[in-house]
């Protein structure tokens, strides 16, 4: 993103010649070269989504194997070692490699379209964050596949994660892989924040952006703040393990609880970061099927931000049993109870939207609306754990396992699947099959609740989490069997979704530009959108530019077919942070090998560190440096360098 010269952009209307001119400027080269160099946010977004769904399937298969082991008491399908690596890898996969990246994928794909822009603010950074995400997933799974998967749960408490008790490479793979993933998340977060602040279409003041923007923006502002804590935590762990430092070693004045603080200062905001964008999808998608705008836009947007701010002050509720002083506990307990309020705002807004609208039942609507109930179930179980004395009983039992799955499946996976039904036509030009969609929804919904609703009771009957087996006579046999059956039904539901995607890609009913008659800007362009998104930059006058004139408002007219042409280069418009007044012409970069090369270099650095091969690490640093030089080399077409005789 770079300011161009101060010429005034031409205003005009869309035309065929104009489109072909833009096409030449924006189109990614076909073939392998284009695949490796593209900076198109739509391609990157789809890559994120596809990669995340593959990892969802992998993490799901891991869960099914564990559920077989737990189907009855004293089973020995898995050894304790295998079970421990499976549950740890399952958590790592779902929380770090599926839940967050899938939302990054949707947001990457949708943001510029929602905002009336032609790309993200930093397209090459965008490509970089995807490649590093992919590399870290490969890195982490290389550990698992060579028998060195993480084995201390996703939150990885020391001292068990430390060298004395865990001498294999398992925790080194996990530590370094997580630091690598942190680079991807941080780069992505910075990109989202600048994109939201600087590339909105003229007129789209901050109070007119879709709620998805609020959700992803808030989540990424939090990521920018908290990811350093967890990267540091993992880095210190690696130092403790490999170089004999004592950050977490109580025998040498270190502190095991330091890990827990560093991890949860990150970990709890992260939980919100992987649900707020999904809640945004519901806030934007649900009203389309209720045929009215969202109830309480402003309070929903504000409560999104409020959730995140309060979310910074609740991390200790993961540590109630660690012997911290009562005064501290009461503060965090209070904050954890109060955080219910902003969440409740969203629930009542969605319910009111359904009641005050005229709902049309589609598969996407079923996913979005059922999510409200799942959100409430996950919310009230969270509310119970917020009360310290109650939590001292609930914590680390299956009650918490049920809670986290209602949060992550209920508030992440269900909106994502709803979002897939909703936006698939935009991304591919074809509908997902509605009939198969109903089967998909009901199988998923019934399977999920069958698996996880009884699990609350399993927890109340005292079953501790993370046990590879259990004795009979504890009262858990039947409930565990039900959960195992439910998990397979859920898996069939997810399989139906994949089948639907593959079938519909080839033979789905073609969808037009705006198949649901939805109000926001992504529906103003063709399906799938052209590489440049908008032939002319739209001007926005309301929150629902495509519904204007039909909601009884007067004098509000957005313009999507007449606006800035910006066709003298790869350009889009930069606007001011709050009011979105046009500010500068942004010169966007061409496709480039630099992000891929930098990602390869950075990842090889981590391979070198893992192997303690300083030569490899050094060579990898050199590759990264070369990539950076290529990337940063001043280019005339980006106005980074003046013509020699200008």
């Amino acid at each position: 993103m770079r300011a161009a010269d101060y010429r005034t952009p031409l205003i005009g209307v869309d035309s065929v010649e104009h489109q072909s001119k833009l096409m030449r400027l924006w189109e990614t080269e076909p073939g392998l070269k284009g695949f490796l160099t593209t900076v198109d946010h739509k391609q990157i977004g789809i890559r994120y989504i596809v990669t995340a769904f593959i990892l969802l399937a992998v993490g799901g298969i891991e869960a099914l194997v564990m559920r077989l082991q737990l189907a009855g008491p004293n089973l020995s399908l898995l050894t304790p070692e295998q079970y421990d690596e499976l549950f740890s890898t399952h958590g790592m996969t779902m929380i770090f490699l599926y839940a967050s990246p899938v939302l990054s994928g949707f947001s990457n794909y949708l943001w510029p379209l929602l905002l009336g822009s032609r790309d993200m603010a930093f397209p090459r950074v965008n490509a970089l964050s995807y490649w590093i995400y992919l590399a870290s997933a490969i890195f982490l799974y290389a550990g698992f596949l060579t028998g060195h998967g993480p084995n201390d749960g996703w939150f990885n408490y020391v001292p068990y994660a430390n060298h004395d008790y865990n001498p294999g490479l398992n925790e080194d793979f996990y530590s370094l892989g997580m630091v690598l993933l942190g680079i991807s998340v941080t780069a992505g977060a910075a990109n989202f924040i600048v994109t939201a602040m600087r590339t909105r279409a003229p007129g789209m003041s901050i109070n007119k952006v879709p709620i998805l923007i609020w959700g992803t923006l808030t989540a990424n502002a939090a990521n920018l703040v908290v990811v350093p804590a967890v990267s540091l935590a993992f880095f210190l762990l690696w130092m403790d393990r490999q170089f004999g430092t004592h950050f977490y070693d109580s025998h040498a004045g270190g502190q095991p609880l330091l890990w827990q603080h560093l991890f949860w200062i990150f970990g709890h905001p992260w939980v919100y970061a992987i649900v707020l964008p999904a809640m945004g999808m519901v806030s934007d998608g649900l009203p389309v099927f209720c045929r009215r705008p969202l109830v309480g836009y402003s309070v929903v947007a504000l409560s999104t931000v409020a959730t995140m701010i309060l979310g910074f002050g609740v991390w200790v509720h993961h540590m109630f049993a660690t012997g911290l002083p009562g005064l501290g506990l009461s503060f965090f307990s209070g904050a954890s109870i109060v955080i219910v309020i902003p969440s409740a705002v969203a629930v009542f807004a969605w319910l009111a939207t359904i009641w005050l609208g005229r709902p049309v039942i589609t598969t996407a609507f079923l996913y979005f609306s059922s999510m409200i109930l799942l959100f409430v179930i996950g919310g009230v179980s969270g509310f119970m754990t917020a009360s310290v004395p109650v939590d001292w009983q609930l914590t680390d039992t299956y009650f918490v396992v049920a809670h986290i799955h209602y949060v992550l499946i209920g508030i992440n996976l269900f909106p994502v699947l709803g979002g897939a039904y909703f936006w698939f036509p935009k991304m591919t030009g074809r509908f997902l099959d509605e009939r198969l969609g109903r089967w998909n929804f009901w199988t998923t919904f019934i399977g999920f609740n069958l698996a996880f609703l009884p699990m609350h009771l399993t927890g109340l009957l005292g079953m501790p989490r993370r046990v590879y087996t259990y004795a009979d006579g504890m009262g858990w046999d039947t409930l565990n069997l039900i959960t195992t059956v439910g998990s397979f039904v859920l898996a069939i539901g997810i399989l139906l979704f994949f089948i639907n995607v593959f079938r519909s890609l080839r033979s789905g009913v073609p969808a037009g530009a705006n198949p649901w008659d939805a109000p926001t800007l992504e529906w103003a362009v063709s399906s799938p959108p052209p590489p440049y998104n908008f032939a002319v930059i739209p001007t926005v006058a309301s929150r629902h530019p495509l519904w204007e004139g039909r909601l009884g408002e007067d004098g509000i007219v957005s313009s999507v077919d007449r606006g800035m042409l910006l066709d003298e280069g790869k350009e889009t418009i930069g606007t001011t942070a709050l009011d979105a007044d046009p500010d500068m012409i942004l010169e966007m970069p061409e496709d480039s090998f630099a992000p891929l090369l930098l990602a390869i270099g950075a990842s090889l650095v981590f391979v070198g560190l893992l192997l303690k091969s300083w030569t490899l690490a050094g060579v990898a640093c050199a590759i990264a440096l070369i990539a950076l030089v290529l990337w940063l080399w001043p280019r005339r077409d980006l106005r980074e360098r003046e013509p020699a005789h200008g």
């Binding site: 068990y160 109580s250 409740a344 001292w392």
Partner: protein, 320 residues
């Protein structure tokens, strides 16, 4: 609730007793909220005039509708009531369960280890000090202070019928307390993931009338009896030689503390941290092949000959 020994939906002690009504209250609120929201949602969705797909969506007319802000306002007002009650109740309950007793009957030190519980009674008074493992006896109606130590990795000490969880963390001493309101055998369990045998790291708290407790304590203070028969004598030599490198039997040269104290092994209801009921048969199996019962446990398989095993058992059975 006899069918579920670890459930915390019933209580038999002061701490758990204070918490239980709050647990039921929040659980009731939680279920009530889910039911109410489910009904509102269901009725709202039932109002749908059309079901189908994109064509039905497109053809449905748009609606400006009411602002609906009163839904949010009223909803929040109603939600605030149980939240406020819970907040106040939580603080009151926390003050009561979180404050250790000023005058405990006595203090015990419990150390969580992979994968068993080391228990020491009254460490301040050498005359009354003794060690046991995986089984804690307390007198009914008297508060007992428990100091928790982390022996290796983090574990968590939990006796659901008596008290919520407190972690045992290396480098710090955490405090919890037990007070049983009725006699009974209450199951405890490690609840912080601690490695391969986290699943098999249970213990028992035996609450008994004060007189019974005193008898138990007096017995535990005794050293191991002298062996009398030849096979017991051979067994003792074998225990001192083999078991003594990790275990202790008071009154013999077996004096290591890396593993459970065996001085009164046969007084315990279970072995291997709550994994097996303590009978001569299970004990023999455990001594020979602990790695089959608890893979990864620090005790290696022993592969004793039949004679060695029967001698060892003959001696161990005297440790009552």
């Amino acid at each position: 609730m006899h069918l579920a020994p670890l459930t915390y939906l019933s209580a038999a002690g002061t701490r758990a007793g204070i918490t239980l009504p709050l647990t039921w209250f929040t659980l009731a609120i939680a279920i009530l909220v889910c039911v109410i929201i489910a009904i509102i949602l269901w009725m709202g969705v039932k109002r749908a005039q059309s079901r189908g797909g994109a064509a039905e969506t497109r053809s449905a007319a748009l609606l400006r509708g009411a602002s609906g802000l009163n839904w949010i306002g009223v909803g929040l007002l109603i939600s605030a009531v149980p939240l406020l009650i819970t907040l106040v109740w939580t603080m009151v309950a926390l003050a009561r369960v979180g404050t250790p007793p000023q005058h405990p009957a006595f203090t015990i030190d419990v150390t969580g280890r992979q994968w068993w519980w080391d228990v020491r009674y009254d460490a301040t008074d050498p005359e009354k000090t003794f060690a046991t493992a995986n089984e804690i006896h307390i007198p009914v109606g008297q508060p007992v202070l428990v100091r928790l130590h982390g022996g290796d990795v983090i574990h968590s000490f939990w006796v659901p019928k008596l008290s919520g969880k407190t972690d045992t963390i290396p480098g710090q001493v955490n405090v919890t307390w037990l007070e049983a309101s009725r006699p009974g055998r209450f199951v405890g369990q490690c609840t912080e993931y601690c490695g391969w045998q986290h699943a098999h790291m249970a213990f028992e708290v035996v609450a008994e009338p004060p007189a019974d407790f005193e008898r138990w304590r007096a017995a535990q203070l005794q050293p191991a009896p002298e062996p009398t028969t030849p096979d017991q004598k051979r067994g003792m030599a074998w225990v001192e030689y083999r078991c003594g490198s990790c275990h202790r039997v008071a009154g013999t040269t077996a004096g290591a503390t890396a593993a459970p104290d065996l001085t009164h092994l046969m007084s315990r209801h279970k072995i291997a941290a709550g994994t097996l009921v303590n009978t001569p048969g299970t004990l023999a199996g455990w001594i020979q092949l602990p790695q089959q019962v608890k893979p990864g446990a620090l005790m290696p398989n022993q592969y004793l000959t039949g004679q060695q095993l029967s001698d060892t058992l003959a001696y161990l059975e005297t440790l009552k």
